[in-house]
């Protein structure tokens, strides 16, 4: 492994996973910052955690059941009120399905 903890290529890949546009300066800065942070995080490898059970919730969750009752939900108008774009009672997004090409 190189002395670089994370490369700019890896950063660009992770940014794609996170759906995040980064400028080339941001990419450089984040590469450096993540490198520093990951080196710091390496400290965890001092600990042998082979037999340790990970903890995901601090409050033991017993799982709750409730009656399946119909209750009023947010009115559609309220739910749509903050949408950047809307139409016919729906959220509007850029076209997802390309237009069908002519047969032939």
């Amino acid at each position: 492994m190189s002395d670089k903890r994370i490369t700019e290529e890896e950063v660009a890949y992770v940014a794609r996973l996170a759906h995040l546009k980064l400028s080339s300066e941001e990419e450089k800065k984040i590469t450096k910052d993540l490198g520093d942070i990951l080196s710091f995080i390496d400290k965890l490898n001092e600990l042998d955690t082979e037999k340790v059970t990970p903890i995901f919730q601090v409050v033991p969750g017993e799982g709750r059941f409730r009656e399946d009752e119909v209750v009023p939900s947010l009115p559609r108008e309220d739910g749509l009120a903050n949408a950047p774009e809307r139409g016919n009672g729906f959220f509007k997004v850029p076209k997802v399905i390309p237009e069908r090409k002519e047969e032939g």
């Binding site: 950063v11 996170a18 759906h19 546009k21 800065k29 965890l44 955690t49 601090v58 997004v93």
Partner: protein, 486 residues
Amino acid sequence: MELYRMTALELSSLIRKGEVSPSSLVEAVAKRIEEVEEKLSSYVTLTIDEALSEAKRVEERLTKGEELGPLAGIPIAVKDVICTKGIRTTCSSRMLENFVPPYDATVVRKLKEAGAIIIGKTNMDEFAMGSSTENSAFFPTKNPWDTSRVPGGSSGGSAAAVSAGETILALGSDTGGSIRQPAALCGIVGVKPTYGRVSRYGLVAFASSLDQIGPMTRTVADSALLLSVIAGYDPADSTSVDRPVPDYLSALEGDIKGMKVGIPKEYFGEGLDPEVEDKVREAISLLSTLGVEFSEVSLPHTEYAIPVYYLVATAEASSNLARYDGVRYGFRMEGDFSLREMYIETRGMGFGAEVKRRIMLGTYALSAGYYDAYYLKAQKVRSLIKEDFDKAFSEVDLIITPTSPTPAFKLGERVADPLKMYLSDIFTVTTNLAGITGISLPCGFTKENLPVGLQILAPPFSEELMLRLAHRYEQEAGYYKRMPPI
């Protein structure tokens, strides 16, 4: 004394006796805001007009002799990460700059039922990510004790507002110290309740297994009062715990003699400012004279807490912040984009630098090939940190530490170095990782007249014991009487 300097308990009693009207109280706070807000920038949104109308409504009910809630007529500031129906809730982010929630968070509903009057929404680090409020996309908040310094963060606006008398009470949220650290840096009281004690419904999620809403006030008794109002099970938050809510106010009065309090040696080492250490040691001496029994305890995995925190919190954040896609609410980048391009452009433009950095770290830690090495490893070490506390609390009732390793630092001092900023939270993140409760309260001032915070930690759902010790110390030490020179 000016009304804005008084506590909620004092004011509540005066309101009930008819000696102070809610309108005059709101007006006094509004006037104070007018005087100092330009220097502090505590608020993102002010709701003075609505507050005055609400005060009138409380007055009418008072005249009619109706029964009033415990916070009737008391102004409160709400951190701008907590949803308020019809009032813009921005998280100090461009992403939510124009977001107006269609519903109230459970805590806000409870505040209204208790008669509290919302006076505004306070500034914060964007999406609660930061320790100085400098990560606000709008403007930084200044510390009322020295306006060249930060108020701490992420609930810096709430802390500055309470400290300067721009409100009587405030709500903050605490994921790794975001209530307690700014409370310490601004010389006020801040409580991070046990995980599950307060409903998170309507709290914009940062790291769901760590986030809690809590009180920020000038006295421990006011925090007890406010906690009694906001605590409790909520069917809308499956992680809230169904346990009776004690009357925290009446819990303050019990004896503290013979209480066993641990001093963790790991919290008094390298990096701790000597003046901060002195003040905390003085507090320990004072409490000893009151019959509190101190002993040393060990929390051996403390040094691993920051790396664990920054893996767990960023992993959860990367998932929680995936919802900001420019479709249902919030900012959308306009242009001739495909759906995927629209997501990428929107998120690239809508989020600030620290939020991007954390989404990147969290996404990386969860990505294929790294999950075991980073995220899973962190959750295992988190287990060890929790076990440290379990063991310590089998020996002592409470634990006492400094809240922050340093007093308030200068604006700009730590922004360039994220790791240095992260270390501001070194004494507070463990509380969230272990799910326990903690309080910060003032324990003195440095030579430069900057407040120092004392942190008391307690086992899950032991807020009563913790508040009792804090209250007694506060009353003996008397630092709560000091207001910042602004």
